[in-house]
């Protein structure tokens, strides 16, 4: 079983590393956010007494790139299901749970890598994290975010027949998850309603955890962030595996 999970994980990784254009392409959006928002809003943010906006924004944008990559690699199942390799795995003498675990771990690893690339790019543009034991913890948060949203993407994909619903997911799931998470604005001074909504968005805890580990600023506290992420990830993995077991091709 381990060798099967490994080879499925390796497959996701190979696919990622071989599609250089996709890697570069998916860096465009986070870079735009970093540069336009980071440097554009920076002075205003500072004048208002918020501190260095670029420092504040980087963890949010790292989380964003993980969210996007993870959701996409989960949703890719729709594609794979009709045209690729998923059908081949479904007739193999392997349990669906094993397939789901291998795929999800692979997708999560890829999303984490994407997050790391954005992180390094941000360093080049002047981001300075507080180094120390927090970096491994930050990586753990990145992987948790990746796992959570790969599982969510998988669960969503199991409910869809084709790519027609994709735009819907983009506009009504991925975008709200991102914009309402506090990735772009501090929850400390946000209106109460917005904070309440953010509390229901699992990405908020991911962003907050990353902020806590990278720049030492946290709204909920790292322990709570980590705890909630682990619980929600477990729930999504469970839902995802139940739905995945029901797939008929």
């Amino acid at each position: 079983m381990v060798s099967i999970i490994y080879i499925l994980w390796l497959r996701q990784l190979k696919r990622y590393l071989r599609s250089r254009s996709r890697i570069v392409g998916s860096l465009g959006q986070p870079l735009l956010f970093l540069l336009a928002l980071g440097f554009g809003f920076g002075p205003t943010f500072e004048k208002a007494g918020g501190g260095d906006y670029f420092q504040f924004l980087v963890p949010g944008v790292v989380a964003m790139s993980i969210l996007f990559t993870a959701m996409f690699s989960g949703i890719e199942i729709i594609w794979d299901r009709q045209f690729g390799f998923l059908k081949e795995t479904l007739v193999a003498p392997v349990s669906r749970l094993t397939i789901m675990v291998g795929r999800t771990l692979g997708g999560a690893t890829v999303a984490t890598l994407q997050g790391c690339i954005v992180f390094v790019l941000a360093m080049i543009f002047g981001f300075r994290p507080e180094f120390g034991i927090n970096l491994p913890l930050a990586l753990a948060f990145m992987f948790l975010i990746a796992l959570l949203f790969t599982a969510l993407g998988t669960a969503v994909a199991c409910q869809l027949e084709d790519m027609q619903g994709f735009q819907l997911i983009m506009n009504f799931l991925i975008m709200p998850l991102f914009f309402l998470s506090g990735a772009l604005f501090p929850l400390d001074v946000a209106p109460a309603v917005l904070v309440m909504i953010a509390r229901c968005d699992p990405l908020s805890y991911g962003v907050d955890g990353l902020r806590g580990t990278l720049i030492g600023v946290s709204h909920f506290g790292i322990a709570l962030d980590g705890g909630i992420l682990v619980v929600v990830t477990a729930i999504f993995l469970w839902i995802g595996s139940v739905l995945f077991k029901r797939i008929e091709v």
């Binding site: 060798s3 099967i4 080879i7 499925l8 497959r11 190979k14 696919r15 071989r18 599609s19 594609w79 009709q82 045209f83 690729g84 390799f85 059908k87 081949e88 795995t89 479904l90 007739v91 193999a92 003498p93 392997v94 027949e161 084709d162 790519m163 027609q164 008929e248 091709v249």
Partner: protein
């Protein structure tokens, strides 16, 4: 449990309903060890649905199925180990090399490493892809992909090979080559072949026995000669038309067709 019956596939009173629609309606047929069996029918007749039930991808509404003596409902893994399949739509990972696609399959079927590598080299030789083994399959032509899929389907030494419209979209040369290869496999290795196709002359040439399905029911079974005699026709195509009528089948465009459309657009762009 070892298979006790003489028939490698035994289907009795098989029914599959999707809501109101009855896709397969009380179908019974058998496939003998080592034969090439053609399963023919117009679009939407229930061919692919039947294959999906035989290969554990769909659960029947009622009826019994035995594949290599095993029940696809209760003995999924035993059934899955018994067959290899080439799907109607390509199912290779087109970002992986030919070698990696085979390797993945071998690991999924738990073929031990050394044996796996040996067979992979052999099979690539057999389907004439040895010199392309390290190329990404996206760069392969339709025929090469099909050949690789057949090699992959054989890697775990199945007793039965399912071919669901394997020659769709291929030129006559490739089709000819492919069927020669399938016949050779059947004769040398004794692999039972279960195929569907819309090309009647192909079925006529390679299949020992034929079953014709229409509206979910088996309307005729027998050798090509028997079907022609039964319908007093000269060719299998005429026999087929006599059995299934001349009306064109309206198949509703479902999700899969939309996806096929999109796949064509995408592949076109990426080349």
């Amino acid at each position: 449990m070892m298979p006790t019956t003489e028939n490698i596939i035994d289907v009795q009173h098989l029914v599959k309903k999707f809501g109101e629609l009855t896709a397969v309606n009380d179908a019974s047929f058998t496939v003998q060890h080592g034969e090439i069996f053609a399963f023919l029918g117009p679009n939407g007749a229930g061919k692919t649905t039947t294959i999906k039930m035989l290969t554990t991808l769909l659960h029947p509404t009622s009826g019994t199925i035995r594949v290599n003596g095993f029940d696809p409902l209760k003995q999924q893994d035993e059934v899955r180990n018994s067959f290899g399949i080439v799907f109607q739509d390509p199912s290779l990972d087109d970002e992986l090399t030919a070698w990696e696609n085979l390797e993945l399959h071998g690991v999924l079927y738990a073929v031990p490493t050394k044996l796996r590598r040996e067979r992979m080299s052999q099979l690539l030789e057999v389907v004439g892809l040895s010199d392309r083994k390290d190329d990404i399959t996206r760069t392969f032509s339709g025929g090469m992909r099909r050949r690789l899929e057949i090699a992959r389907g054989l890697l775990h030494h199945p007793k039965i090979l399912f071919l669901d419209e394997p020659t769709i979209g291929l030129d006559p040369q490739t089709r000819n080559h492919l069927w020669n290869h399938v016949v050779e496999l059947n004769q040398k290795e004794g692999i039972t072949v279960f195929l569907t196709t819309h090309y009647m002359e192909e079925a006529d040439k390679v299949a020992g026995r034929i079953a014709v399905i229409d509206h979910g029911k088996i309307v005729a079974q027998g050798s090509s000669a028997e079907l022609k005699a039964q319908t007093s026709t000269q060719s299998l195509e005429d026999a087929f038309l006599a059995l299934t009528g001349n009306s064109i089948r309206e198949e509703e465009s479902g999700a899969i067709d939309n996806m096929r459309q999109m796949a064509r657009v995408w592949r076109g762009k990426r080349r």
